[in-house]
């Protein structure tokens, strides 16, 4: 009875691999810079582009590109730079439900000027 052993080596291997995977992927997760509650809609178009720039507009008029909060005057420069390295040319705008339409238009206009070929407004599926 004393010689019964469970081989723990593979289990340890899996645990270590998982730990490494989570450590690596954890650093790749983009935390949203601004808290946004996107508008709700019934219709939606599904896009599969993974190569995209996410632009955030908060209800109090703050802007962020991916995970960086940015002043409006630097938005065009930042988008120009980022769009150069993206093949899809897609800009996804995550505007808060309470953000002003004027801010949305300004951002859409800048995205277009900067060379975005597709501009999409992110929505949440209405239940």
């Amino acid at each position: 009875m004393d010689n019964v052993k469970i081989n723990m080596t593979p289990l340890v291997d899996v645990c270590m691999s998982l730990l490494i995977v989570f450590l690596v992927s954890g650093s790749l997760i983009i935390q949203p810079a601004l808290k946004i509650k996107v508008p709700e809609a019934i219709t939606n178009e599904e896009k599969e582009e993974t190569d995209k720039i996410i632009l955030y507009i908060s209800s109090d008029g703050k802007y962020a590109v991916d995970d960086i909060i940015i002043e409006f005057k630097y938005l065009e420069m930042m988008l120009n730079k980022k769009l150069l390295v993206i093949d899809s040319g897609m800009v996804l705008i995550k505007a808060d439900q309470g953000a002003s339409h004027g801010d949305l238009l300004k951002v859409m206009s800048i995205a277009k000027k900067s060379g975005a070929t597709k501009v999409t407004i992110a929505t949440k599926q209405k239940e």
């Binding site: 593979p10 599969e48 439900q97 859409m108 206009s109 999409t120 407004i121």
Partner: protein, 139 residues
């Protein structure tokens, strides 16, 4: 010569092989890592009318402009379809009829800059639900 195995010998051989479980776990990890970037994004494709800040930025000919349905959302939430004020409860049937009668089935939404994004998206959504093939956000 007897080859009778004793109870003690049987006990020694009882080792649980964890290798298949490990293989499956690792394959699942790899599959999830590969599949997660393919997650779909939902959203509404928006087309804005131009780069300049005025409303005349729409670069469409006069005849084309007449063929599109013009939706105006005022600051107080009032909606005008082709210049006609429409009550909230009549909005959906009137919008549907107007889009159906329009040859291009395109809608151009003009909203006040102070309107909220949700109000504009709701109009955009209603247009799409009622048959609009293209929705343009006018500046």
């Amino acid at each position: 010569m007897s080859i009778k195995r004793t109870y003690h010998e049987m006990e020694i051989d009882e080792v649980i092989d964890l290798t298949p479980m490990v293989n499956i776990a690792l394959i699942l990890v790899i599959v999830f890592l590969c599949v997660s970037p393919m997650a779909l994004i939902t959203g509404i494709k928006a087309v804005n009318s131009g780069n300049s800040g005025n409303k005349s930025a729409v670069t469409l000919g006069k005849s084309s402009k007449d063929e599109i349905v013009k939706l105006i959302l005022e600051k107080d939430g009032t909606v005008l379809i082709n210049g006609i004020k429409v009550e909230q409860h009549l909005l959906i049937p009137y919008l549907k009829d107007t889009i159906m009668m329009s040859p291009k089935k395109e809608v151009m939404i003009t909203a006040d800059k102070e309107n909220k994004v949700q109000e504009v998206v709701t109009l955009l959504d209603l247009s799409k639900q009622n048959g609009a093939t293209k929705v343009i956000l006018a500046e």
